[in-house]
Symmetry: C2
Subunit: 480 residues, 2 copies
C-alpha cells in the first residue's frame, strides 16, 4: 500500500530528454521516496494508498533547484544595484553590517521567499553555515550547503597598508587564515553531511582563485575528493579576478584553474561571465558544472552569462538567485524567464535557448550541478518525493492548451511568476501549502525581520561609508 | 468631510520628477477624485472621513498603466514564441481561430490578469472593441481603447493571387475596406468616449503605415485632431514594414511617417524597434509618444526596444504587455524588470535606465502616452483615485529599509512580481481586494475559459496549417 498517492495531475516529470509530459498522471510515494510515476490508471492500478491528494488537474512537477545563493544578505535587499562597481560601491559596505547572530533569521526569510516561489533545493553559500542550517532544518527544504573560505583576512587591512599594499590591488594572502577556514568547512561536513536522510549535504567552497593560494585550492580538491564531494567556487566573475590571476600566474582565471587541474567534473563554477569563447569551450570540455545567476549578473554587471553556449558545448547548467542585494529576489521563475530572454537578446535570435531547456536548468540539470540528481530534480521512481503543485486554472497558466500544441512549458518559463505555487513537498512531506509554511510561523518571522531591519538601519546610518554610497545620494536627492 | 481616507501608508505619489516618496502618508478621496495627498498629519488634520482604510504601513501608489495590449488573443497564450517569423509561423495562424463571440471572455481573462498584477489603466487595441468593452465596464478598470483599421482585406487573398500578387510581398490596399474601418472607429468613439465620467476613452488606430494608404493615414489624423484625440499605430515593428514602405515611397517607416506629418505629438508609436539612431532621434524630436513592449519584442524578435535612448532624447515612454501569445503575460511588473535589465545588457552598463525612471514609465509616463495624465498616473489632488496597495510586510518587498538609503523603488522594479498587490482602486472604487474582483466572479469566468479552451483546441486541431507550426512539431517530439 502506498503511503501517499497524488493523482488527477498534469505531470512534467523532467525524466528523459525533455519535460516528460504526462496528461493525466499520478505519483505514488512510500516514506520519503517516489515509488511510481506515470499515467493515472497505471499508478492507481498498482496499489492502494493511505492518503490521496487530488491535484484537480493542476501541474505536479519537481521542486525547483536554486544552485547558488547567499541567503543571509537578504537584509540588504534592493540596496545594491545600478552602480559601476557593485562590490565596492554597494554590496561590500552594506553586508559587513550583518551580524552573525542575526544571520539565521535572514536566511529564514530568503528560504521562505524561495519556497513560496517553488524552490525545494537550495545551494546555500554563506556563513556562519552551522547556525544558518537551523533555518534549513526548520523549514524542511533540501539543501546543499557550503561556507566560503578565502586567505584574505580583511582584519589585517591596516597592517597591509603599512607594508605597502595599495587599495584596489590584490590583497596579500594569509595561509593560516585559509587553513582555519578549510578546517571549519571540514567540521561542517562532519557534523551535517547526510543529515536527515541526506536532506542536507555539504560541499566545499574556496571562494575564488584570486582569494586563495594554489596550495590551498589543491588541498580543497583533495579534501573534497576524499569525501566524494564537490568544490563550489566563483570563476571569472569580474575583471578583478582575471587581472589578479594574470598578475600572480600569467594566466587568466580559467586557464589558470585548468593549469592546476581544478577544471574538473567535481568543480561547480559560478558565473564564468568574464570569459572568452575559448575559455568557455575549455571549461565545458573539462566537464565543469556551471552555476548561472542571470538576474544577479544582469543587474550587477549589465552582462549576459554564457549559459546558452556552455549548454550547447555539452556542459550542464543550473540556475542560481545569488543575493537579494543585487538581483533582488530569490525566485527561480524569475531566473528562468531572464535566462531564456537574455540569451535571445544576446544572439539577436528568438529561437535560441528554448523554454524546455531552461526548465531543465531549473530542475534536473540544477540537481546535477549540485550533485543531488540521485535524490531530486525529476519525478522518477527511487528519487525523493520533492515536488510542487502549480495552479493551472487561472492566469498566468490558463488557458491550458494541449492539442495539437502544448503551451505549458512556455508559460511556466515566460509567464509564471511563482505566485501559482499551491503546494510544495520535500522528501514526501508537505512544507508549504495555501501560502503557509508547515513548520514555521511566517507572521512571527516577519515581525522579527521588521525589528531586525530597524537595527540594521541604525547600524548603516551610523556608517559614513554607507552615507556616501550612490544609493544614499540618490535617496537624498528625493528621486527614490 | 472626505468620503474616504487611506492612511498609515508608505506613499509613492509619482508627482514631481521622481517617485514622490512620503514616509507616513495619507490620501483623501471625495467622489471619484483625490482631494489631498501628503504626510498623514497634514491630510488627517484637514478634515474627517466617512470611511477610513488603514494601509498598515503598506505601499500606496498609482495603479499601473499598460499602454498597449491585444487583450482577446489571451486564448493562444504560450503558443507563439521561439520561431524565426512570429507573425507567419506562430501568431497569425492561431489568432485567426478566435471567434468574435468568444473574444469578450478572453478580454475579461487578460484584464483580470492585469488587475491582479496592479494595472488599473489598459491601452486595449483589439476587436470587436464595442463588445470587448463589456469586460472593461464590468471589471471597473480604466481604459483607453481602439480598434485597429487596415486597408488589407485578407478575405480577398485568392483574388490577389489571380491578379499576380506574390505571398510575402506587400498586399494590395483596399481603400473602401479601410474607410469602413475608420467609420467603425468613429462610431466606437461616438458611443464610448467619455463613458462613466471618462473611465473609458477612445483613440484612433491605423494599424501600421504599410497596411494603410497615405490618404487614409491623413484622414485618421484629421479625425483624431478634430476630437482632440490621438492615433495609435505600430511603427517599425519588423523588417516587413520598412521594406514595404521603401518599396512604396522610397523611405523607411519613420522618415515616411515624418514626410506626411504623422510624426507628431498626437501620435502614439508602438515598438520602433527596427530603427536607426537617427530615426529614433527624429521621432523624439517630433514629440511622438512611445509605447514600449519589452518582453513581447524580446521573445518575438530577440531585440531590445530603444526605450532608454528615446527617453534620454526627451521622449516620453510607456510600457505595454502586447499579447499573451508572445510575451506571455499581461503583467507590468514583468515589463518593468525586463525594461530596466535589457537596457543594462544592451549598454553593457549596469548604471543606465535606473529603476525610478522605469517606475515612471509604468505610471505617470504611461498615462502621458495614452493621453490620460489629466486623470491618472500619479497621486495628486484633482486626479481620479486610481491606486494600488502593495504588501511591504513580506518578501519580495521586505525588509523595507528607509535610512540612509531606500530600497523601495528598486524592489518594486526588480523583485516584485505582482503577487504583492493587496488592493486596487479605480475612480475611488475598490475593484480588486484579497485576490477577489469586486464586480466579477473569477471562478465562473475561469470555468467559461476552460470550456472555451476546449473549443479553441478543437478548432486549431482541425487546421492543417496549425499542425505544421514549429510548436506543434515540438509538441509531437515529446520534448514539451
Amino acid at each position: 500500500m502506498y503511503d501517499l498517492l497524488i493523482t488527477n495531475a498534469t505531470l512534467l516529470t523532467m525524466a528523459g530528454d525533455g519535460a516528460g509530459y504526462i496528461e493525466d498522471g499520478a505519483v505514488a510515494v512510500e516514506g520519503s521516496k517516489i515509488v511510481a510515476v506515470g499515467p493515472r490508471e497505471e499508478v492507481e492500478g498498482n496499489d492502494r494508498a493511505r492518503q490521496t491528494i487530488d491535484a484537480g488537474g493542476n501541474l505536479i512537477m519537481p521542486g525547483l533547484v536554486d544552485v547558488h545563493m547567499h541567503s543571509a544578505s537578504v537584509i540588504a535587499r534592493g540596496l545594491a544595484q545600478e552602480v559601476a562597481t557593485w562590490m565596492g560601491s554597494a554590496y561590500g559596505p552594506l553586508v559587513r553590517h550583518i551580524r552573525d547572530e542575526d544571520a539565521p533569521l535572514y536566511t529564514m526569510v530568503a528560504l521562505m521567499e524561495g519556497i513560496a516561489n517553488g524552490t525545494t533545493t537550495f545551494g546555500d553559500y554563506d556563513a556562519p553555515m552551522n547556525e544558518l542550517l537551523a533555518s534549513h532544518v526548520a523549514l524542511g527544504n533540501r539543501a546543499v550547503v557550503c561556507q566560503g573560505t578565502t586567505e584574505i583576512n580583511w582584519a589585517d587591512r591596516e597592517q597591509w597598508i603599512e607594508q605597502g599594499w595599495r587599495p584596489g590591488t590584490a590583497p596579500p594572502l594569509n595561509r593560516a587564515y585559509g587553513e582555519a577556514g578549510l578546517a571549519a568547512e571540514i567540521a561542517l561536513y562532519d557534523r551535517w553531511h547526510g543529515y536527515d536522510n541526506d536532506r542536507i549535504r555539504v560541499i566545499f567552497a574556496p571562494v575564488a582563485a584570486d582569494m586563495t593560494s594554489e596550495e590551498l585550492l589543491l588541498e580543497f580538491q583533495r579534501v573534497a575528493r576524499a569525501r566524494n564531494s564537490s568544490i563550489h567556487l566563483h570563476v571569472a566573475q569580474d575583471p578583478r579576478e582575471n587581472n589578479a590571476m594574470v598578475e600572480r600566474s600569467g594566466l587568466r582565471a580559467i586557464p589558470y584553474l585548468d593549469s592546476i587541474g581544478l577544471l574538473a567534473p567535481d568543480t561547480i563554477a559560478v558565473h564564468m561571465c568574464m570569459t572568452t569563447d575559448d575559455e568557455i569551450e575549455l571549461a565545458a570540455s573539462r566537464n565543469v558544472r556551471m552555476a548561472c545567476c542571470t538576474n544577479s549578473i544582469g543587474i550587477i554587471d549589465g552582462v549576459v552569462p554564457p549559459a546558452r553556449r556552455f549548454r550547447e558545448l555539452g556542459g550542464v547548467v543550473g540556475l542560481g538567485s545569488d543575493q537579494a542585494p543585487g538581483n533582488n529576489s530569490h525566485n527561480i521563475f524569475a531566473e528562468m524567464r531572464a535566462t531564456a530572454m537574455f540569451a535571445k537578446i544576446k544572439a539577436d535570435d528568438p529561437t535560441v535557448l528554448p523554454a524546455w531547456q531552461v526548465l531543465r536548468m531549473a530542475t534536473i540539470d540544477g540537481a546535477r550541478v549540485l550533485g543531488v540528481d540521485d535524490l531530486t530534480g525529476s519525478l522518477e521512481a527511487g528519487k525523493e518525493a520533492d515536488l510542487i503543485m502549480i495552479d493551472l486554472q487561472g492566469p498566468p497558466m490558463a488557458p491550458v492548451i494541449r492539442h495539437p500544441a502544448r503551451n505549458l512549458v512556455a508559460n511556466l518559463v515566460y509567464a509564471q511568476t511563482g505566485s501559482g505555487v499551491l503546494m510544495s513537498m520535500v522528501a514526501g512531506k508537505v512544507i508549504y501549502e495555501d501560502r503557509r509554511f508547515t513548520n514555521v510561523d511566517k507572521t512571527a518571522v516577519l515581525h522579527q525581520l521588521a525589528a531586525a531591519a530597524g537595527e540594521f538601519e541604525a547600524a548603516i546610518s551610523a556608517d559614513p561609508v554607507v552615507a556616501d554610497l550612490p544609493i544614499a545620494q540618490l535617496t537624498r536627492s528625493g528621486l527614490i
